[in-house]
């Protein structure tokens, strides 16, 4: 059974259909890319999965459970974490705190535990901090742990977003253009990071514009145009698909 299935997913904003009758399966352990021209509806798909938008019709099924109507915090608690196209870190919290916020749903301390600093809260906080440091090491930000998120260079902010998302122990990680705006070296490092995340057993859905990168690391590619899937398959199949070439380059190219 697929980890995530979208069934006839449609989202209309008034007369505009941002996503139209989209069906796709994401198998566990794979890196699946969503590509398509600007405005194709890729980010809308993420916003539908994570509960920012409610689908106009269709279903989102994750581990056999329908996610329709869940709120974002419930979606993330069920095991789906995401990064944002335009970085949305907690700018004036430390790098370490940012990652610890990501662990929120995995922690249990109640309000009085925190207020009274009970042994339970202390134990849990210490464990959370340890895990956060481990994740910072994984993404190469250990040195930055006590800096504010906003003070990090852009490429590091991208990595911090990934570490924060991983802190929620996702089974499925949605990365929305994680390499956007980074230089070629950073881009390469980020893609290596994405691959090592997959090795940790996390399934990844990736939105990315850089075709070369997408083709290199994806197991499977879905191409959207005007909210509709126009092709899917392995990178090689997609690359040769005439409809994809047309969507990207226009007719008669």
């Amino acid at each position: 059974m697929a980890l995530l299935s979208l069934r006839g997913l449609t989202k209309a904003f008034g007369g505009l259909c941002a996503v139209k009758d989209l069906s796709l399966d994401v198998e566990s352990g794979r890196i699946v890319s969503l590509i398509g021209p600007n405005g194709a509806g890729k980010s809308t798909v993420f916003n539908l999965i994570t509960g920012i938008y409610e689908p106009t019709s269709g279903e989102i099924i994750f581990e056999g459970r329908c996610l329709n109507g869940l709120r974002p915090y419930e979606v993330s608690a069920s095991g789906i974490m995401r990064s944002f196209q335009n970085i949305r870190l907690f700018a004036f919290m430390t790098v370490l705190e940012n990652v610890m916020v990501g662990e929120h749903a995995r922690m249990r301390a109640a309000i009085w535990d925190g207020a009274l600093h009970t042994p339970r809260a202390r134990r849990e906080d210490a464990a959370a901090q340890e895990k956060a440091l481990e994740l910072l090491e994984f993404v190469g930000l250990t040195r930055m742990a006590s800096e504010w998120a906003r003070n990090l260079p852009y490429g590091m902010q991208r990595r911090l977003e990934i570490a924060r998302a991983l802190a929620g122990e996702p089974k499925l990680l949605l990365l929305d253009e994680p390499a956007a705006g980074t230089n070629p070296a950073e881009k390469h490092a980020l893609m290596a990071l994405v691959q090592s995340i997959r090795q940790r057993g996390v399934t990844i859905v990736l939105i990315e514009h850089d075709m070369r990168l997408v083709m290199e690391i994806s197991d499977e590619v879905h191409v959207l145009d005007y909210g509709e899937e126009i092709a899917h398959g392995t990178p090689d199949q997609v690359r040769r698909n005439p409809r994809v070439i047309e969507a990207y380059l226009g007719k008669g190219a």
């Binding site: 980010s43 916003n47 994570t50 509960g51 920012i52 938008y53 409610e54 109507g69 709120r71 974002p72 915090y73 993330s76 608690a77 974490m81 995401r82 944002f84 196209q85 335009n86 970085i87 949305r88 870190l89 907690f90 700018a91 004036f92 919290m93 430390t94 370490l96 705190e97 610890m100 916020v101 990501g102 929120h104 749903a105 995995r106 922690m107 301390a109 309000i111 535990d113 925190g114 207020a115 009274l116 600093h117 809260a121 849990e124 906080d125 959370a128 901090q129 440091l133 742990a145 006590s146 504010w148 998120a149 906003r150 852009y154 902010q157 924060r164 802190a167 929620g168 929305d176």
Partner: protein
């Protein structure tokens, strides 16, 4: 490594010395009206603690915070006075009033916390106006504009507090210290991080698994609970409550205290509250007396008419304008807020969001 910044040995020593000095104060200053002013400053500190959770940590602009103060004070008034013939023991009533105020925090918060920014400010402002009006007009139960008199004053091991300000002063110090400990714990807890994450980016916080609605409700009710405790102490020390003590001016005074001291940072909040409290209860009344004395000496009759208390809000306003001009982050800001205000001067932060809508359809 710690998520808590700047808790140095020097800082701890300073805190210990300060506490010793606070306990010694009634031996150094035997003027009972001074001690009374110091004690009253205590409730400003407690209110500032409460408002700091809502405004400073969670970033929700709540006006009308005095409503929770009123609810705490009247709760104790109802439960320990001839009004209903109830005379419940003072000590557990501290917690009862805190709980009642917290409950009203939930009742107000549940329908309104979907609102953001200015809209939330307006609704809470309205609540702040409504509550004293209700106490004023339900005169059958609340004593109307005269309020409730003859409220029981605390006893401890056979010692009656009465109208002597000294025991209240010590009680405030003990409760403030305990509150500061609680607040510092909260700030560095799972919930405290959730509050700050909401302040920084509510939508991203929701995606990190934070139930933003319940975290904001927790902030509202915790803040209200502190105001409830302040209300009990206030009512007990004065032995009376009336609606006029809880108007918009009180709310503004508390907001001014945390802005002056440094929002989101406990030492700053305490300093701001102490300055505003002393100004209000000690300095302005005294300065008026000096001016009157000066008028007597110089035979300048018009000086007799000067009452600085009447200019209180002009003076708060002046202080706020000066703070905003010269030290917008407050006197002892949290490191965060200083950087934030500096950053806004430099350039717009590189961290902004545009790929998801500012108001989510389904964020709840």
């Amino acid at each position: 490594m710690s998520t808590l910044r700047g808790s140095t040995a020097f800082g701890r020593l300073a805190v210990v010395l300060l506490i010793v000095a606070l306990f010694a104060l009634p031996y150094l200053d035997k003027n009972s009206s001074h001690i009374s002013a110091y004690a009253d400053t205590g409730y400003v500190v407690l209110l500032a603690f409460g408002l700091n959770i809502i405004v400073g940590y969670t970033g929700l602009l709540a006006l009308g915070f005095a409503a929770f103060f009123a609810i705490g004070a009247y709760t104790y008034g109802f439960l320990a006075s001839p009004q209903f013939g109830l005379h419940l023991n003072f000590w557990p009533m501290i917690l009862v009033s805190a709980a009642v105020a917290a409950l009203f925090g939930l009742i107000l918060g549940a329908p309104t916390l979907r609102l953001r920014g200015d809209y939330l400010a307006i609704v809470t402002l309205g609540f702040g106006e409504i509550v004293p009006q209700v106490f004023q007009n339900l005169d059958k139960w609340t004593g109307g504009p005269d309020g409730i008199a003859g409220i029981d004053q605390p006893h401890l091991f056979g010692y009656a507090f009465g109208f002597n300000p000294v025991p209240y002063y010590y009680l405030y110090i003990v409760i403030i210290l305990a509150s500061a400990w609680l607040l510092n714990n909260l700030r560095n807890s799972r919930l405290g991080r959730a509050w700050m994450a909401i302040r920084e980016d509510e939508l991203a916080a929701a995606h990190m698994g934070i139930n933003t609605t319940s975290a904001k409700l927790a902030a509202f009710s915790m803040g209200a609970a502190f105001a409830g405790v302040a209300g009990v102490l206030f009512a007990a020390k004065l032995s009376t409550v009336s609606p006029s003590g809880f108007d918009f001016n009180t709310s503004v005074m508390i907001l001014a205290a945390i802005v002056l001291g440094g929002m989101g940072n406990l030492p700053g909040v305490v300093l701001g509250a102490v300055i505003i409290g002393l100004l209000n209860f000690l300095i302005l009344p005294q300065a008026s007396n000096w001016i009157h004395g000066l008028g007597d000496q110089l035979h300048w009759g018009w000086l007799q008419g000067v009452d600085l208390n009447a200019y209180r809000f002009m003076i708060y306003g002046l202080i706020l304008v000066l703070v905003m001009l010269f030290r917008p982050e407050g006197l002892i800001p949290s490191a965060t807020r200083r950087a934030e205000l500096r950053a806004n001067h430099d350039e717009a932060s590189g961290i902004t969001g545009g790929d998801v809508p500012a108001t989510a359809e389904h964020l709840g």
